[in-house]
Symmetry: C2
Subunit: 188 residues, 2 copies
């Protein structure tokens, strides 16, 4: 990856329930030069999700063809479903000087760091309280007990890797967390 | 990962059928200071495989506890089975000045590169002929048609990521390939 990237590549990871989506939304709003990379997935579209907004929803065969053509910067199979970060739009945006934010789990985050090295800034968003997060994840919403269990398990997996990130930011206050990310970007 | 590693961390990836195992075996034989990291897995032991030699075979609950304690440098779930690289023995060996060779797929290789940065040397071993490899993989041995299909698919996935590696080595001749790896190590 010896490309000439003028923009920042930001990897943001966080356990589910930490407020990552709000942080990204706010950053995009206050930074017209920042874009959010849209991943491809083979999982079915959920109610309210938008093609090209939340994900590019594609079938398994199309996904596999894209893997073989090297069209993903990184991809992973999770519970028999595929998720991948398209390479071309990402590199094009960075070449044009745009900042690109990637919303990835810790395993995907490390892959992107491996591919882009110093050109990728990895930020881990921490919940104000891990105990509180676990309490919320294990009681929240309409999900089945199994889904809650998986979400809790995933949150623990994510937290176990936080030390591998370039930066860790506590998301106690949305505005404050975004300011800290801006400071990081300004220093790069 | 700002640890004081005196040894080299070598990631070797290659499509199935490229002769990676022979290369590793030979390198270990000619380099008493080199060790091969043994992964953990939840998949069942196959005939002829040795606990602690081929893998550490552990159950799912034990694996998940290790994830949560941050005991893996990287891990992945593939077809509902877990594979992971234990962190502690790896770091200990590198601190002691040993060279450690990791035998990983491209996704795992990128994660380790992301975690260890310049301290990891990634090498992709190329088959002398991709066409010949595909022919062999699709006709080889006692496997079912489905297993052959998966192996072929994986080989294509691996090849698609070869450009992400620090070095690519053609494995036309075993001795020659090992010499090239030695040259790479000597230059680091």
């Amino acid at each position: 990856m010896k490309k000439n990237f003028k923009g920042h590549l930001i990897v943001l990871s966080a356990p589910s329930g930490t407020g990552k989506t709000s942080v990204i939304r706010r950053l995009l709003k206050t930074h017209p030069n920042m874009i959010h990379s849209v991943s491809c997935t083979t999982r079915p579209k959920r109610t309210g999700e938008v093609e090209g907004g939340d994900y590019h929803f594609i079938d398994r065969d199309t996904f596999i063809k894209k893997i073989d053509k090297g069209e993903f910067a990184e991809w992973a199979e999770v519970h028999n479903r595929f998720y991948g970060t398209p390479r071309a739009p990402l590199e094009k945006a960075l070449e044009e000087g745009k900042d690109v934010i990637l919303d990835l789990d810790v395993q995907g985050g490390m892959k992107v760091k491996g591919l882009f090295g110093d050109k990728a800034i990895t930020i881990f968003l921490l919940p104000p309280s891990v105990e509180e997060l676990e309490r919320r994840l294990s009681t929240r919403g309409t999900d089945s007990a199994e889904e809650r269990q998986i979400r809790l398990e995933n949150a623990r997996h994510e937290l176990a890797m936080k030390d591998a990130y370039d930066y860790q930011i506590l998301n106690k206050d949305l505005e404050q967390a975004c300011l800290e990310i801006e400071k990081i970007l300004a220093s790069h």
